[in-house]
């Protein structure tokens, strides 16, 4: 019968195709059918979420910056410093030098713009900076890049119709361009009034409302030039104009799809985008028009010819690809940690993230959410909160709930520097150490030296914690807030309900229940899990909807003074009901005169009492006639940190560390983490195999490599 025959034929045809498919089996790494070529060095990587919008004006998160980093070039840059000059040279640990990249000159021209128009005073410095560019800068299609391109880009960045995400980096925080906010809000219609304009074909001026000091005393570049002035956006005018999209019906927002696909992307960095498939794969190749290929400073760097990145959502799949040599680096997940963390190819990266337990600060909201027979107000007593802190075994928590992180005790960890140039970490300073001892009630005299005392800190002292619970209980009882039969029930809120959040919750619950044994609240304490807050967990906590959450902050690793914003500013702080504008603090410094200027006279001192917010603003604004030097800022930062920690609204518990494996194919320049350059990235990476050699090596090894 025809039907059966046709079915038979179909089946045979299918088998034939299957058999044909099994032939030819070397592992491929194709995007657009790339075959391994001799002399070409490819860097193959993966991402779990594909980038979608690497538009410098409005990118969303760090995932989008993947591509951005390759197609842009900075004005100023860090370089490694080597021990010797020969080929076998090793990178000097923790040292860098700072050079001009796209720029050739940086000058302080504040005195040229004195006057009302720009709001610059007669003797002010650091208010206006003139940046001169190289004259050989080009886009990937050969068009010249001029200062006007920078001005155009800034104008588009602040365009009021677009409400671009990154606009606030130019009027908030440390970098405040004159008139930027007004232009963004639509109050100022003329861009010429904004402090960002070209003075030449190859030079532009940035006028700031807050002074910045970017040069060292001898006129050479300070690291601050790189830190503050790398983020000027640059977009290609004709391409950007084409990418603008009118508002859709029912909306007034203009959008742009610049830098979201191959055709809408323009590069001015070492690599250009040659292939992009959304959600799947992207490829970058050398941008011949980049000025750096002819520049001596980059000799021997950027050995990578081609970058290929595939989107792989499933870790297990990525792990198999890594073992087959298709991917060149991968993070060590808990599922493979025990076998691979001892591997030769493993390396560990410290992180500036500090995770903490946050306790509700608003007594009102606590009272409002109490129910009959249950008390929450006891949380408003600092003794109780301190007890919760001392009753938390942080080491046990980290063993149970993290893969490779360590116990954290302070708001800052070892990655926060108060003097980045000299490499002085805040936590290593005496002031930083003393704060920890005082917060956790460790007497230096018991241990002999400050270092011994710090090493002995565990943050876990059940005896003391239990007596504090009893103290708090007595206070609450005499205030009539808790009776002899009331139980204490606190709500632990979370964004999602999954295995990880449940595990963290269980750990805290069990530890605190153990704490209550032997106190008046024995068997009368419980923690309850609530994940109904979803993405609003942070705002809900700040507005008092629940009692305990886990959150942390990351960023501002080189400006611990600025970082305190996260704990003091009610817009950001989790302890939003703690009024830092009325909490006053007396602070004394020696060697400094009444204005806050450094005198080097030991008998001079400065002492004042103000609110915490005022201290913070002093720390981050002008002090005296200029900026206070770092080693004098240090005591203030320490005092503020101690004040925050001893409120016990924030209980630090974790310092993050990440573990990764490196492929045999390549190596970074160094594995000593450099606070400026990390491990050197692709710029300094070297390869042991080119693509063809690697492909041959893999077939010789029989497909899968052993990384143990």
């Amino acid at each position: 019968m025809a039907k059966k025959q046709s079915k038979k034929i179909a089946w045979i045809a299918l088998i034939a195709t299957m058999v044909g498919g099994f032939s030819g089996c070397s592992p491929k790494n194709n995007a657009g059918n790339y075959a391994p070529t001799a002399g070409v060095y490819s860097y193959n990587t993966y991402t779990s979420v594909s980038p979608s919008n690497w538009n410098a004006l409005t990118y969303r998160d760090n995932n989008d910056t993947q591509i951005m980093d390759y197609i842009t070039s900075p004005l100023f840059e860090y370089d490694f410093v080597y021990e010797t000059d020969d080929d076998e040279r090793e990178v000097k640990e923790n040292e860098i030098s700072i050079s001009y990249a796209m720029a050739t000159k940086l000058e302080d021209v504040s005195k040229l713009y004195v006057g009302e128009a720009w709001g610059v005073g007669q003797n002010e410095t650091g208010r206006a900076w003139k940046i001169t560019l190289r004259d050989d800068l080009k886009w990937e299609d050969g068009t010249k890049i001029t200062a006007n391109d920078f001005v155009y880009s800034m104008q588009e960045q602040l365009n009021p119709d677009f409400k671009n995400f990154r606009a606030d980096s130019f009027y908030k925080g440390a970098l405040v361009i004159h008139g930027a906010k007004d232009y963004f809000d639509g109050k100022e219609k003329e861009f010429a009034k904004v402090g960002f304009f070209a003075v030449d074909e190859n030079a532009f001026v940035v006028l700031l409302d807050q002074p910045m000091y970017l040069l060292k005393d001898d006129g050479s570049l300070s690291y601050k030039a790189v830190y503050n002035f790398t983020s000027f956006p640059l977009v290609k005018r004709d391409l950007y104009e084409k990418s603008k999209i009118r508002p859709i019906t029912g909306s007034t927002l203009w959008t742009s799809n610049y830098n979201s696909s191959k055709d809408t992307t323009a590069s001015y960095g070492p690599y250009k985008l040659t292939y992009f498939q959304a959600g799947k794969w992207y490829v970058l190749e050398k941008n011949e028009q980049w000025f750096g290929w002819k520049d001596e400073r980059y000799q021997g760097q950027y050995q990578t010819d081609r970058i290929s990145c595939e989107t792989v959502a499933e870790y297990n799949t990525a792990w198999m690809k890594f073992q087959r040599g298709e991917i060149d680096g991968i993070g060590i997940d808990v599922s493979i940690a025990s076998d691979y963390k001892g591997s030769d190819q493993a390396y560990f990266t410290p992180d500036d993230f500090v995770g903490s337990v946050q306790l509700q600060s608003s007594k009102e909201s606590l009272k409002k959410r109490e129910s009959a027979g249950f008390d929450k107000e006891i949380l408003s007593y600092v003794e109780f909160r301190k007890a919760l802190s001392l009753g938390l075994d942080r080491v046990a928590y980290n063993t149970a709930c993290t893969t490779s992180s360590r116990a954290g005790f302070g708001l800052f960890n070892s990655m926060h520097y108060y003097d980045v140039e000299e490499g002085k970490a805040y936590r290593e300073s005496d002031e930083g150490k003393k704060v920890l001892c005082e917060t956790y009630d460790v007497n230096v005299s018991d241990y002999g030296s400050l270092d011994n005392a710090v090493n002995a800190i565990t943050g876990y002292d059940l005896e003391k914690a239990r007596s504090l619970v009893n103290t708090a209980y007595q206070k609450a009882k005499s205030a009539g807030e808790i009776s002899d039969t009331d139980k204490v029930r606190l709500t632990y809120g979370s964004a999602v309900d999954n295995e990880i959040t449940r595990r963290n919750f269980e750990n805290l619950n069990a530890q605190w229940k153990t704490l209550m044994k032997g106190t008046a609240l024995e068997n009368r304490f419980e923690l309850v899990f609530d994940a109904s807050f979803g993405n609003e967990w942070a705002t809900s906590f700040r507005s008092g909807s629940y009692d305990v959450c886990q959150a942390g902050w990351r960023g501002a690793a080189w400006d611990p003074g600025y970082f305190l914003l996260a704990y003091l500013d009610p817009a950001y702080a989790y302890s939003s009901a703690w009024d830092t504008s009325s909490h006053s603090l007396t602070f004394t410094m020696t060697g400094v005169n009444g204005n806050g200027d450094v005198t080097n006279n030991a008998s001079d001192y400065y002492s004042a009492t103000m609110s915490l917010m005022d201290w913070y603003n002093r720390l981050n604004g002008k002090w005296g006639t200029g900026n206070l030097r770092e080693n004098f800022r240090l005591p203030l930062i320490a005092v503020l940190e101690k004040e925050i920690l001893t409120q016990y609204y924030t209980l630090p518990i974790t310092n993050n560390y990440a573990a990764s494996l490196m492929s045999y194919k390549m190596d970074y320049a160094t594995y000593e983490y450099n606070r400026f350059l990390g491990y050197g990235g692709l710029r300094y990476a070297t390869y042991h195999f080119d693509d063809l050699e690697w492909s041959n090596y893999l077939s010789k090894q029989g497909g899968a490599l052993n990384y143990k």
Partner: protein, 318 residues
């Protein structure tokens, strides 16, 4: 018959409309979130939301939404989706559709012949050891969750033996040989369940037909076994298969989410999962509309095909 078809289609549109409206309202009633991170301006995020019209009353948003779709065929723009911010929903959707459809088509092409043949074989050798073997295999495939089989396929075929690539290749040329080869692991994983289903179904239908009266008559008339089977039994047994193939195809479309995640197939399933977790209104509505649409379509097609294929079940007659 014709009137019936028209009635069914009209009803389907009505259902579609009601479901979509309910979805829209339910989704918009969920609270909108603005999360600020250190250094970022919550004001800008809020300004963007207002400018997009998300703070308007729901009815106003609804009317604008319908107008946009009917007059401009503009399904909106991604807002919260991590990978498609600022991109037109319809464009992304059309781009993602081919891989999903292709994988499902290939897996159906692969599963149907094998499943049916297995079913026929075991029905013919009823109660013999072959029948039991096939039945057990079928049971096992139906019982094992798809992600387990997918992982086994990936681990054995792609990792250990290296016959096939671990993930689907890049490229929008879906009909090249390399892309086809990279789709094979996903196709295999998807088809195991289908093969089992078809085999079981065929076996049941065929055995029922084989024991009916007219077959006894055919045998009595002197036809050989194979002639019986081929000329009479198969044709009757096959009639319910086609609707079930269509139904299975639709079920597999919505069920391939897991496979797409494991093999990095840039298809519609992953899009849906992300839209749900990131609560992107436009994507969620579009994809819900899509899945509802194919569900309704499947229903109509199955009903109509029943009417065409089996004269005993001419619809309209009760």
């Amino acid at each position: 018959m014709f009137r019936y078809i028209v009635k069914r289609i009209a009803l389907a549109f009505l259902s579609f409309f009601i479901i979509m409206t309910t979805c829209f309202f339910l989704v918009k009633m969920l609270p909108l979130v603005v999360n600020a991170t250190l250094g970022q301006d919550a004001e800008i995020a809020e300004a963007q939301i207002v400018a997009r019209g998300y703070r308007d009353p729901i009815l106003v948003q609804y009317v604008a939404y319908i107008r946009r779709i009917l007059f401009e065929w503009d399904w909106g723009v991604g807002v919260n989706m991590p990978e498609y911010v600022g991109q037109g929903v319809w464009g992304v959707f059309i781009e993602k559709l081919p891989p999903t459809v292709l994988i499902n088509v290939y897996s159906t092409l692969f599963a149907v012949p094998i499943g049916i043949l297995l079913g026929i074989y075991s029905a013919l050798k009823k109660n013999g050891w072959q029948d039991h073997l096939v039945s057990t295999l079928v049971m096992v495939f139906v019982s094992v969750p798809s992600y387990v089989t997918a992982f086994l396929v990936q681990y054995i075929l792609c990792f250990k033996l290296g016959w096939l690539p671990l993930t689907m290749g890049a490229g929008t040329e879906y009909f090249t040989w390399t892309t086809f080869r990279s789709m094979l692991p996903a196709v295999f994983s998807l088809s195991f369940g289908s093969i089992a289903g078809y085999a079981r179904f065929t076996r049941a239908e065929l055995t029922e037909v084989l024991t009916s009266d007219y077959l006894e008559l055919a045998k009595a008339k002197g036809l050989t076994k194979s002639q019986c089977v081929v000329r009479h039994a198969l044709r009757n047994a096959m009639t319910p298969i086609i609707p079930s193939i269509i139904a299975e195809f639709i079920a597999v479309m919505s069920g391939s989410l897991i496979i797409e995640k494991i093999f990095s197939v840039p298809g519609v399933g992953r899009l849906y999962l992300t839209a749900i977790t990131s609560l992107d209104y436009d994507f969620f509505m579009m994809l819900s509309a899509f899945y509802t649409f194919i569900g309704l379509l499947a229903g109509i097609v199955v009903d109509i095909s029943y009417g065409f294929i089996d004269p005993r079940i001419r619809v309209g007659k009760r």
